[in-house]
């Protein structure tokens, strides 16, 4: 057993209850898992793959009614977070992370999302520099499955998507459960349990290169003193471990045990802009998505509950969600906008449903959530002013054991690009800094890392 020196001793934490930001030392142990499970996403073989997804909802929340007071585990649930109570243990809340506009315009319902997804705020579509971070992740891990990624929208509109390689080409979404079923489980269903396995020559090559390195051992050890010999031998032991991991990749992966081809879904009837209908549609889509993940059809997905300027409404109400955020007055006795509050709560109910549904799928020794990381976010915090500070973010899942769920982390004005950076690092994208301008960061959100 290695000396597990606690890294907590090196984290400087605000002791006086102020909004402190804590940063730990580079977390080496994320890559040091003794069972090799931490390497699942990059090397695969012998373990369950780790999947990644985003879940988007529009028009943010009301900060005073959403942000928990307590940081860390067992965080309190303010009224708009009450819906996640049953799944709180799976969900981390990241509050107070900002999109920094860096002197650029705050384009309503655009700047926030661009800032979160690309790590940089821009003035125009053409200036959007980088792919969204979900694309960077699917570039890194998506090639191992039939679909590089699944983009899903729930409003029936294939243009509802926040996943793009640049501002001019946005990935279209699959806009309904029926279409998702057709795409994944239809006639061309690629059953993982029947696939023929062919080892990838890239891994063979890498393994043989490492063997070549190992062959230098004797000559080197002869050149040095005894203490140095021990150190070099530790290095060569590391080489052998890597060779073993690469060897695993050359073997057939285990069957996708939880995969069961579902029946074709019955489309949900009703006005898709009504939040009740939307939630039913969402549940159905999530069930299909969950099974698509369990059948290793894809490792990356983007789910959009509604659009940035949320077009949701409630049957019988005269104003919709977005309109209400701008027009509804703050109720004097309540202290907040009641209609806006209801929709925010409704969005959180949908999120909780999403987490619950995926958690119901058993996989390995646990559930799908254990092998998944979801980043849920909106594009504003307080929608009335299009405030892009403190954009709400939540995580779900354990990412194959790399992530600790169930924490509240206070960002205290830190750039929200740290979250995109952390997600990429967790998913094995080789990146040490991300984002642009004032949001360029090389600090991951270490509190959530195991």
């Amino acid at each position: 057993m290695k000396d597990r020196i606690s890294r907590r001793g090196f984290i400087l934490r605000g002791v006086l209850g102020g909004a402190a930001v804590t940063v730990g030392i580079p977390i080496l142990d994320a890559f040091l898992d003794e069972n090799g499970a931490a390497f699942a996403a990059t090397l695969g073989g012998g373990s369950l793959p780790v999947r990644f997804g985003t879940w988007f909802w529009g028009c943010g929340m009301i900060p005073e009614r959403w942000v928990p007071q307590k940081a860390g585990a067992n965080y309190d649930l303010p009224p708009q977070l009450e819906p996640i109570r049953a799944v709180q243990q799976h969900v981390s809340v990241l509050s107070g992370f900002d999109v920094m506009l860096d002197g650029k315009a705050n384009l309503p319902h655009i700047s926030g999302n661009t800032g979160v997804r690309t790590g940089e705020a821009v003035d125009t579509w053409q200036a959007i520099k980088a792919p969204t971070f979900d694309i960077l992740i699917s570039d890194a891990i998506g090639s191992g499955s039939y679909f590089r990624a699944l983009d899903l929208s729930l409003d029936g509109n294939p243009q509802t998507s926040y996943s793009f390689r640049n501002g001019s080409s946005i990935n279209a979404s699959v806009p309904s459960p029926v279409e998702l079923y057709e795409k994944v489980f239809g006639a061309d269903f690629h059953d993982p349990n029947k696939a023929d396995f062919k080892p990838d020559p890239k891994f063979m090559v890498r393994k043989s290169v490492l063997s070549g390195v190992a062959e230098q051992r004797r000559a080197l050890l002869a050149k040095v003193g005894s203490a140095d010999r021990i150190r070099l031998d530790q290095y060569f032991t590391s080489v052998r471990e890597m060779e073993d991991k690469l060897a695993l990749q050359l073997q057939k992966p285990p069957p996708a045990e939880a995969c069961v081809r579902p029946n074709a879904p019955v489309p949900i009837k009703g006005d898709i802009t009504d939040i009740g209908v939307r939630k039913a549609n969402h549940k159905l889509m999530t069930q299909l998505l969950g099974m698509a993940l369990a059948c290793n059809q894809t490792r990356v997905f983007n789910m959009n509950f509604d659009t940035a300027a949320a077009e949701l409404r409630r049957a019988g109400d005269t104003t919709g969600y977005h309109q209400s955020t701008h027009e509804e007055l703050v109720d004097r006795s309540l202290g907040y906008q009641p209609t806006v509050d209801r929709f925010a709560v409704g969005s959180m109910e949908a999120w909780a449903d999403f987490v619950q549904t995926l958690g119901d799928i058993k996989e390995g020794a646990g559930t799908l959530l254990d092998n998944l990381l979801v980043v849920a976010h909106s594009e504003v915090s307080f929608a009335k002013n299009h405030d892009v500070a403190g954009i709400p973010v939540m995580l779900a899942g354990r990412a194959g054991g790399r992530v600790k769920p169930g924490l509240h982390v206070k960002g205290s004005g830190e750039p929200i690009s740290r979250i995109g950076l952390t997600a990429q690092q967790i998913m094995g994208v080789p990146v040490d800094s991300w984002g642009g301008g004032a949001m360029r960061s090389n600090r991951s959100v270490s509190e959530i890392l195991v």
């Binding site: 125009t124 243009q159 005269t318 919709g320 701008h326």
Partner: protein
Amino acid sequence: MGKAGLYPIAALAMLVLPIGGAGLAADAPTGGPPGTRAFVVNGLFFSGGGDPNSDSAQSPGSYDVYLSMLPPAERAALSSPGKRGELKKRMWDHFGFRRLSLWPGDFGGRAQVAKLPPDVKLHQKPTPEQVRAIAALNGFPKDRGSLAYQDQTITYSGCTNPYDFPDLAKGYVPYQGKISYGMNLDGKVGPHDFTGPDGKRGIDNQLWRAIGSYKQSQEMNDPAVQEKVMLSARAPMLIEVSGIDDPRNDPDVTVRVLTGADPLVRDGSGKPLARASFTLDPDPSLVNVTHGHIVNGELTTDPVDIRFVFREQIIDNIRTVRGAVIKATFKPDGSLDGGLFGYTTLASYYDMIEHMTQDGADNVGMSCVAIRLAIDKFADGFRDPRTGRFTAISSAMKFRAVPAFVIDSPVQTASRAESAQ
């Protein structure tokens, strides 16, 4: 200069930055020229009267105006929020509004793109002549079609051409209240004047009369909202007070009202970062100089015409306030808190409204047309001798400002040296 020599500068340095209660402000011998205190304004908004939480007579936004023009059955059909898209289409078709994106790829490739004449280069702002050509090529009505949305679209709407759509002013009501924040700018107590919250009469704030009945105006006037909002952070206003001999009482100080070229940023606690350095916008017309006096820690400036930039979300405009007066208090924590009063020119005020775009105005429930007509009607300052009409409207803006350092650009340094000679 007042009582120069009575207070040694070193002691003044201590007085100028009184010790903050929480011990947060550095009180070292601070940099910057002695006798000078500068501030960056972090929230400048039009203020007036009224209760933001009350439902009293509100003027309607364009959608509501259009709906009121429809027969009842149609009105009901288009009123539900699910029908918002269709309502917008119907309204735009009815009035003949047009909006085309100038460059392909906007909104992820979803916007309708204008046909461009061959001499228009991609991503270069078209000249006025080119704009006319683009409008003609895309079937805009004659002499219509303006750049909008940060010069990324060519548009014809109630906001670009308010006088074309008088119907959209239906249902508008001016602000009805009698009490308003503001200043007595003309020294008189007239029949249209307000009474201040402290009972003072003769308050001139006709702009509030014009726009105060909109929800949006009321909300921005709510201190709870203002706390959270840092307006025009991208081109912040700077106020520099120099020649201070005694920060409590000084009969003559110099005051410059300036525009910064660097954005205002937040500090770790979410408030504006204090003691940052700002390079000035090189445009010399954005430097406004006047004199003032301090009485019991309150600064009042002599009237002067002021030009400054207001840049927020999609709005980027130069505002002109004529005969502007600043009245503000030096607070113990080092900040400056007060108001900017004067006659905002109709042209510069409406420019800001136009920048909102039709969509923007519709979303916040305002009508560009109604506002245009209202400010024309209530204008009360600086009559144009040729037309006989007022060109500016009395207004009042509140602001808060935190300590800052002003860095003159070489142009300003040279001109200050010149004027000092």
